[in-house]
């Protein structure tokens, strides 16, 4: 029994990581029908930007600041203007393929210009363990979980309580009508890209001490987050969080009680079952638009 609790806690810690990455997926999908296959790489890159700034001799806090700014510029604004805008009208697929190419390009660029080696990354959360109800949990994992929860609360507040949030929701639900009632649709879409860029930079900051800064670390993350987003519901921020946590826990339980060789299979089977019985995802709402 104590073993089970251990696994649950560890699963939630990993799941929080997936959830944090998955949130961005759902945001981009909602406002602009963008499936970003490079989302994992988006999380990988900011850490390297920060490392590069530190390499020049800047202190860690400044590196974080510049790293976030560069993320907003490259992964938010640049991504939207250079890749998404020209292709958006042509449907989901060409853009999805282009993000796959982007993922390859980002991995190769980091490998070529930084290193193929994994490098350690300083943690803003002290590296240590705390004991909660007799379970040993690392502070870093708690930090990720706390951030994930804060992100959901923050985003929900933004979307439901502020006028910008209402405009973003209107954009997500029906851009044509939103445009007619005077919502600056373009600016709202840009907002979501900037929010996504900010989130991946934060995620990078918290996850990299655990995953290490490595050009390929986005592969595992991106795929897990994608699956988490589908399971939870592609069109809901809360869905992404629930999906992420669920996948994390299921993965751990599968490794302990089913088979370590097939641990990755269990979340996928879960995904297929969910699609059969609740295609919109656990917390998603059915989509009216056909894609």
């Amino acid at each position: 029994m104590s073993n089970l609790l251990d696994l649950l806690v560890a699963g939630l810690a990993t799941g929080a990581i997936y959830a944090l990455v998955a949130v961005g997926f759902t945001l981009l999908w909602q406002t602009s029908q963008t499936i970003n296959f490079a989302q994992g790489e988006f999380v990988m890159l900011p850490a390297f930007l920060m490392l590069a700034v530190m390499h020049v001799g800047a202190p860690f806090w400044l590196a974080i600041l510049i790293g976030i700014l560069l993320s907003l510029l490259l992964l938010g604004l640049g991504f939207k203007l250079l890749l998404v805008d020209p292709m958006l009208r042509h449907g989901v697929l060409p853009l999805a393929i282009a993000t796959m190419a982007l993922a390859i390009g980002m991995k190769e660029a980091v490998k070529q210009f930084f290193s193929a080696e994994a490098s350690p990354f300083p943690s803003i959360v002290p590296a240590g363990d705390v004991s909660i109800l007799g379970r040993v949990v690392s502070l870093q994992s708690l930090g990720v979980l706390a951030l994930a929860i804060a992100v959901v609360i923050g985003l929900t507040m933004l979307l439901n309580r502020t006028s910008i949030g209402h405009q973003m929701q209107a954009t997500a639900q029906n851009p044509t009508v939103a445009r007619i009632i005077g919502v600056p649709v373009e600016r709202m879409i840009l907002m979501t890209f900037l929010i996504n860029a900010f989130l991946v930079a934060l995620a990078s900051l918290l996850i990299t001490p655990i995953y290490l800064a490595k050009f390929s670390s986005g592969e595992v993350l991106g795929q897990a987050a994608f699956i988490a987003a589908i399971v939870g519901g592609f069109n809901q921020v809360r869905g992404a969080i629930a999906g992420g946590l669920l996948i994390g826990v299921v993965d751990n339980l599968a490794a302990a009680y089913v088979s370590t060789q097939y641990r990755a299979a269990v979340p996928l089977i879960l995904l297929i079952v969910i699609i059969l019985f609740r295609p919109q995802g656990l917390l998603g709402r059915p989509e009216e638009r056909t894609v």
Partner: protein, 333 residues
């Protein structure tokens, strides 16, 4: 299309086919290997083009079907000592059946859920290839896969094997050409263009969509049975999700829904990285940039550019005619 245009196209077709047969004769082994790889990947991409380009369904499992075909060929020819043609039959039936079973529930619900189900299937297939040692030899892979004898000719050498792949590509292309022009093919396109209308015209949309997906998957299996004797060694790694994504990229980049799209897409995916290798460590980066630029320039792929160009020229010609006619009218007394 005018008669001269038709002759031009036939002439071009014959020239390309002749070039594919004659030019590689003095290629080295590497060039022949790459061209054989292109032929194999084209077959797999043609299958996906049927699913995606003609029936409008996204499959992220084409790589897994290539894997199933490759393992069928590898296991049957090395352990069972059976001829490749038997493996081909098994691969086609297996992939068709799995495609059908996979698509059935997914298409029950909604359009794009097939993409999600196939995404999951793709990774599941990889895990089975890797973990079921008793059948697939797991991560150690299967070595010494023999190349087949075709009508008494051994295809061990690179050139005969290339002709074998090219011949297979020819047969698959002819079958596909026929399929698309058959009532089935027209039904597939009707589905993609307007599912509601197709339904009202009495087309059983789900059955036809499933059929397109299953046939497309079976072609993945065909490509796999050629891939195994091409490399003569297989392990699970090449058949993971990234092969499925690569094949999807080939279809989109070539021009989804165009008959010759997969030929060009596979050429980009197989040959472009090889060309770019002279840039050493930068070649994959440049490849990625090239694909992005191409898609930005023409999201409908390479053949989309040609299509656009032809349409433009036709409208220009028409407006020129109009202008001439108009000026004549004006100058007429």
């Amino acid at each position: 299309m005018t008669a001269t245009g038709k002759y031009l196209r036939i002439g071009l077709g014959v020239a390309v086919i002749a070039a594919l047969i004659i030019v590689p004769m003095n290629f080295n082994r590497y060039g022949l290997y790459i061209l054989s790889q292109w032929a194999v990947m084209t077959i797999a991409a043609m299958g996906l083009n049927l699913t995606l380009g003609y029936a409008g369904q996204v499959s992220l499992a084409q790589g897994a079907f290539v894997g199933i075909g490759a393992y069928a060929a590898a296991i049957m020819t090395t352990q069972g000592g059976m001829p490749l043609i038997a493996a081909l039959g098994v691969a086609i039936v297996l992939c068709f059946a799995i495609g059908w079973i996979l698509g059935y529930p997914a298409l029950r619900v909604q359009h794009h859920y097939l993409a999600f189900v196939t995404l999951a299937f793709s990774t599941l297939a990889f895990l089975v290839f890797r973990n079921e040692d008793w059948l697939t030899k797991g991560i150690y892979g299967i070595s010494n896969i023999p190349r087949p004898n075709v009508m008494g000719f051994a295809t061990n050498r690179p050139l005969p094997f290339y002709y074998f792949c090219l011949g297979s590509l020819g047969i698959v292309s002819l079958a596909m050409w026929w399929l698309i022009r058959s009532p089935w093919g027209r039904a597939f396109v009707a589905l993609r263009e307007n599912p509601v209308r197709a339904l009202s015209l009495g087309i059983d949309t789900r059955r036809y969509t499933l059929m397109a997906f299953a046939i497309g998957s079976a072609l993945g299996g065909v490509a796999g049975t050629l891939y195994a004797p091409l490399t003569q060694y297989i392990d699970p790694v090449p058949f993971n999700l990234s092969l499925s994504l690569d094949l999807l990229m080939m279809v989109i980049v070539g021009g989804s829904g165009f008959f010759f799209g997969p030929f060009l897409g596979a050429m980009i995916a197989v040959l472009l990285p090889e060309w770019l290798r002279f840039t050493q460590g930068y070649y994959l980066m440049l490849y990625a940039v090239a694909v992005m630029l191409l898609l930005i320039y023409s999201p409908t792929g390479i053949l989309g550019i040609l299509d656009r160009y032809l349409t433009e020229r036709r409208t220009k010609a028409a407006s020129a005619l109009r202008a001439v006619a108009k000026s004549r009218l004006e100058t007429a007394p």
